[in-house]
Structure formats: structure tokens, C-alpha cells
């Protein structure tokens, strides 16, 4: 007698929970009904991200590094499942290795991107990189897993909270990744995953006044309109590459803070 398998419901990932779209909408992708996020889901996700961001940024860099390393562990454990949801084993291994690579950057960014400045006067002066805040990511359509990981990790390792709109045609890997994130000690709300239509959700994210930066990597078509909307609160606009791996990718989502103090007896 064959056992009937238990199927998964593909939902959003917001604030550490897995809600359906408040709109009740789904769309069919990869043979599944996947939640089709709405403007209100964007709003909820940004709110969750804003609430979670200060705690994530305030965690020690060592801690952030370990949490992200644990994410790699969680993906490794599900490697077989992931392989079925993307181009295969090689993409999964690439994604895992990229997570590990960025995890190791957490406690080195300040040393490579910051520094002390030899000002001409009796002052101690140093520059430290800090998270910019809430980052919207329009992930590339492909590859569905590695593309998302490539754009997600740079803002994340820098202490930002992320609202990601994932591959429209191949969203299942992203939902699986959300499940790995949920079990990896990444605090709820630090990563929020929205499935749905980037063309519909992009403008709401680009114009949202509580989003500090937007990565337009996966914007298809009218990126110019998104850039125009982003100017309303002087967002940092990033055109991330779908396959880049560099600390400079992280730097795009960081602010530099310079502190002065007099030196004296």
C-alpha cells in the first residue's frame, strides 16, 4: 500500500512566521500554488524588518558570522531537496559555499572597509562601517537559489534587515531557503521573503519611505521608474550583479560613520 505524501503549502516568510498573502492570492509556479504577495504584505515585511534590524546590527560581528554559518549548515542538511528546486547539486553547493564565505566576512568588514584617519590636529579620528537599515532586494530570476543567496548575503552580513522579492517563475527554492533561515538562528524579521510578481511589488518597495536601500538586480523592464521612486527618500540604489562575490558588494549596503575626539591630558 502506497502512502500518500504530505504536501507543502508555499507561503510567505515575514517576521519569522509563514503567513499566506493577506490578499488571499496565489499564482501557479513550478506546479504549485505559491503565495502572491501584495502591497500590504510589503508593508508588513518592511515593518518586521525595521523592528528586527537594530537587534541584528547590534549583535557582535562574531555572533552574526556564526548565525550565518549556521544558515550554511541548514542548507547543507537540505541539499538534496534544494537540488530538486534549482539547477542541481552544483548550484546548491555554490550557494552553501557563498554563505560560508560571507559568514566569515562579518568580523572583518570593519577592518577592511573602515580605518583610522590621520587628521592634522590633536584628534583621534576613526571611520566604521554600519548597516544602512532596511534593504529591499529584487532577486534575479535565475539561478533561483544561488541568485537569491548572492544578493541576500551582502546586506545581511553587514547588519541590515532584508525584504526580498524572489524569482517569479522559480520561487520554490526561495521558500525552502526561508525554511532554512527560520531554523538557523537568524532572528525573525531580519530576512523576509516575498513570492509574487516583482513588477507589482517593486514600485511599492522602491517608494517605501522606511526602506533605506534597494537592490534592483532582478528588476525587469522599468528600472528607471524604480530609481525615480527611490529618490523620494534618497535611497541607496544598487544594481547588484547576479553572480558577484566580494566585500565591496557588502559595502554598497553600508554607511560610513566617522567619529572625532580630541586628544589631551
Amino acid at each position: 500500500m502506497t502512502r500518500l505524501p504530505v504536501r507543502k503549502t508555499y507561503k510567505l516568510y515575514i517576521g519569522g512566521a509563514f503567513p499566506r498573502s493577506e490578499s488571499g492570492r496565489t499564482y501557479e509556479a513550478e506546479g504549485q500554488n505559491v503565495a502572491r504577495a501584495s502591497r500590504k504584505d510589503v508593508r508588513d515585511a518592511v515593518r518586521a524588518a525595521r523592528a528586527a534590524q537594530p537587534g541584528w546590527a547590534a549583535a557582535t560581528a562574531y555572533n552574526r558570522g556564526q548565525v550565518l554559518y549556521r544558515l550554511a549548515e541548514m542548507v547543507e542538511a537540505r541539499a538534496a531537496e534544494f537540488a530538486g528546486l534549482c539547477s542541481g547539486r552544483e548550484e546548491v553547493e555554490g550557494a552553501i559555499d557563498r554563505i560560508v564565505w560571507y559568514a566569515g566576512w562579518a568580523d572583518k568588514l570593519a577592518q577592511v572597509l573602515g580605518g583610522s584617519n590621520p587628521v592634522a590636529g590633536p584628534y583621534f579620528n576613526f571611520t566604521v562601517p554600519e548597516s544602512t537599515g532596511v534593504v529591499a532586494v529584487l532577486a534575479p530570476e535565475a539561478p533561483p537559489l544561488l541568485g537569491l543567496v548572492t544578493r541576500l548575503l551582502p546586506p545581511l552580513v553587514g547588519g541590515n534587515a532584508v525584504v526580498a522579492v524572489v524569482s517569479e517563475a522559480r520561487p520554490l527554492a526561495a521558500v525552502e531557503l526561508a525554511e532554512a533561515i527560520a531554523t538557523s538562528d537568524v532572528p525573525g524579521g531580519v530576512v523576509n521573503v516575498l513570492t509574487g510578481f516583482a513588477a507589482e511589488l517593486g514600485p511599492w518597495l522602491a517608494s517605501h519611505m522606511d526602506v533605506n536601500a534597494i537592490d534592483l538586480c532582478g528588476a525587469d523592464g522599468d528600472a528607471a521608474e524604480l530609481e525615480r521612486l527611490a529618490a523620494e527618500n534618497v535611497k541607496r540604489v544598487v544594481h547588484g550583479a547576479a553572480d558577484a562575490q566580494s566585500p565591496w558588494e557588502v559595502g554598497a549596503f553600508l554607511e560610513l560613520k566617522t567619529v572625532w575626539h580630541p586628544i589631551g591630558r
Binding site: 577592511v112 580605518g115 584617519n117 590621520p118 587628521v119 592634522a120 590636529g121 584628534y123 579620528n125 571611520t127 544602512t132 533605506n212 528600472a223 528607471a224 521608474e225 524604480l226 530609481e227 525615480r228 527611490a230 529618490a231 523620494e232 527618500n233 534618497v234 541607496r236 566580494s246 565591496w248 554607511e255 560610513l256 560613520k257 566617522t258 567619529v259 572625532w260 575626539h261 580630541p262
Partner: protein, 517 residues
Amino acid sequence: MGGGFGERARLQVPAPRSDLSEPEPVVSELDKPKRDLEVPGDWTYASAPESRDIVRIAERYGHFVGGEWLEPAETYETIAPRDEEPLAAVGQGTRADVDCAVAAARAAYADGWSSLSGSERAKYLFRIARLLQERSREFAVLESLNGGKPIKESRDVDLPLAAAHFFYYAGWADKLEYAFPNRRPRPVGVAGQIIPWNFPLLMLAWKVAPALACGNTVVLKPAETTPLSALLFCDVLRQAELPPGVVNIVTGDGRTGAALVEHDGVDKIAFTGSTEVGKGIQRRLAGSGKRLTLELGGKAANIVFDDAALDQAVEGIVNGIYFNQGHVCCAGSRLFVQESIYEPLVAKLQRRLSTLRVGDPLDKNTDIGAINSAAQLEKIRELVASGEQEGAEIYQPPCTLPEKGYWFAPTVFTNVAQSYRIAQEEIFGPVLSVLTFRTPEEAIEKANNTPYGLSAGVWTEKGSRILWMAQRLRAGVVWANTYNRFDPSSPFGGYKESGFGREGGRHGLEPYLEFDR
């Protein structure tokens, strides 16, 4: 045009002490200074005018394009804000003028500047730094004349820093491959740069020095009201024998700036100015692929804790908001005072204000010069009126302001609510809003409650609290137990709506470089 100096009539003489109608300072017994410095009743200052003979202003200026002066189609008059004296006719740059300048910059870029070795570029920049040092008094006088800032500041701050910027970035020109590990840098191309009127030559240096060091060529538009030091800078370029077209200067108002922003031949725009205009530029450049950096407005919190060295803090507060008439994007315009020291601090501050000398920018005694323009004066007046209308209490020390020119007395508002316009909007004038807080958490909450994020100040003797505050202030520059310090090696720039990108330091190179990897 000379002969304006040495006239006692123009000099600001503080009113005799007995005329002061200031309220009796409230000082608790504990906080009373042991030796209170009393200002003698009849203290006046003899005039100490800086000679303006050192600078020669032409009657008419064109645009500096391809190493030559381009006859402008249209001109406007630039004046001295201290007495509205007309100084020169300068060009109102048209689209055609901008076209010529961009073409000259492109040609210079392609014809050698971008392929010149870094060490040769460096030597040009070192030359410029040296020439600015040699001619610094000439520039300082011109800066004070055309912009209205006290000669003390243009002489001791603007000019030394401008020269230092060129010297600093000169050294980077042949070391760029060491600046960004594992990256291969190359120039961006032609940079369009638009600068403000508050530090005309210094902002030029902030823009031009890193651009040239990185191998770019430049089209720069000085501010409408303060073009003269940039035009004199062209003579420095001539003396430095900088190849023609590497730096081009087109003067004019916002229309000239818009033409530069929209020009297809420009690869990168760097803008310093208001947040409103900055947003417009960001919108305008959407989809263009052009690089952009913005250094925009601010509404900085200057936070004083009850354990701060109060007299030092008062000096820092005064420097923070009255430096350059408050025409400073990072001015400490919101003063947050811990409640327990509110009264003694405000009393000390008001007493200090009464000793500030407002008057002729070319007088070496002057602390506060002229407001830069009639339009800016109008904006300050409007916001100050809104403060009074919304219910804040205004204090201005007694001082007689000259009849001609643009003047505004140093102003302190107390009884200010966070919602008042004077606590929310950038005034860009000598106007301070005083607010209070009880705990460090509350100070952070209030300080960060603004769309801006350019700078902040913290005054406390407790080191751990300084670092705690510095971590939480959402601002690109934090001055602890000091304020308004600048250095070419120190990155400067804002969070949030104060802009993006940094100027100064290693980080200031990045906006002017492309990377092959």
C-alpha cells in the same frame, strides 16, 4: 572698488554692557563659575581691517573652458553681501556653454589625462596645493568679499583646508591600486560637479582634487552667488600649467546646473546642496546609468550631558551653529541639553552670545559675517518668524546690524517642541533651537528623529557614554567633545536624506573610480 576698509562707520561695535537688556542669567549655586569673566562695560574693538588690495577682480568673467575664457552669451552681477556692492559681471551658463565645457573635458580626458601616469597627475595636484598656499590670503579676501564669511574663517579654515585637500589627494593619484584591495581601479570619465555657496573654494577642492587624482576630467559649476574664488582658481590652474580642458568652470544659476546634470556626455554627477534639489537630481538621473553622489542638508543634534565640561561645551555649541553664520550643512542646529543643566547652560550660552562680534567680514575681529544672499536672509527670517509664531522663545543679543547688506543676529530659541519647523527644517543660518532630554536613550530617540543624518555632537566626560552614543547616532560624522572639525583624510557624508557617498579620505576616492573587478 577699493577703499572699503578702514572705515570705522562700517565696523560693528558691541553695545555697552549697561544697555544689555538680557534676562538675568539663572545659575544655580553649584554651577556658578568660580571666576566669572566679566566683560567690561565699555569694551569696544578698534577696527582691524584686512586689506582688499591684494585681490584684483575683473569687471567681467566668462566661462573657463578648455583652458580659455569663453565669452558668455548672458551675464549677471555678483555682489558683496556685506554691502551689496557689485563686484563683477559673470556668465550665466547656457546649454551651449555646458556643451562646450563637456566637450573640452571629454577631449582632455581622451587626449591624455586619463592615460597620464598617476605620478604625473600627482605632481599637478601638488603644484595646485602649493599655489593655493602661496596665494591663500588673496583667495581668503576674495572669499570673504564675495561670500560674506569672516576673514578669520576664510583665512584660517577655508584656505588651509582647500590646499590640504589638494595635497592629500595628490598623494593618492599614483597609489590608487592600494586603496581598494583586490580591485583594479580606473577613472570614471567626465565628472559634472555642482557646489554650494557656503564654502565656495573648499567645496571646489573637495570635488576637484579627488576627481583629478583618479584620472577624471571635470566640469564644475560654482554656486550662483559665489563664483569669484572658482574663477580666480582658473588662474592657479594656468600657473600650474594643468592641461587645458582637465578642469572647466561654467558659472550660472540652477538652470546651468540642470543642463550639466542632464548632459549625456557626463559620466558622473557630484552635488552638494539642499536635499530638495538633491532629490530632484536623483530623479533626473534615474535610468541614465550615470554615477551619483549627494551631500545634502542636515539638522544635526548637538547633545550636552550634565557631566560635560560646560564652558568647553558652550564654545562648541557656538562654533557648531554660528560658524560661517550657520551656513553649514553639518551645523549643530538642534541643541539637546540634559534637563539638570538646562538653566545654567542656557545662561552661559546667552552670555557668550553677547560677546560675539557681528559685522564686516573683512574685519579680523569679526565672528559673524554677512548672510550670503537676500534670498537666504529671507528664508532665515521666515523660519525664525515661524518659530516665534509656533510658541518658541527667542533670544538675540543686542547688536546693531549694518544698514546695507544682509545681516542676521545670532539667535537662540528656547521652549522649542520637536514638532516646530525650527526643530525640523534646515535653516542654514545663525539660529539655534534648544531642546532637552533626561536619559541617553531619550537623547538618541530625539536626535535620530529627523530624515537627515549628516552629523551630530556629543558632550560628556564619560568615555563609555561617548562610544555608546556614537554607535547609536544615525549620522555620518560624530564629533565628541568637539564640533565642526574637518580634514582631508577624514570621510564626510550623510546617512538617510543627507545623501550618499563620502568625500575625504580613502573613501572619497570611490565615487571617482570604476572597477574592472
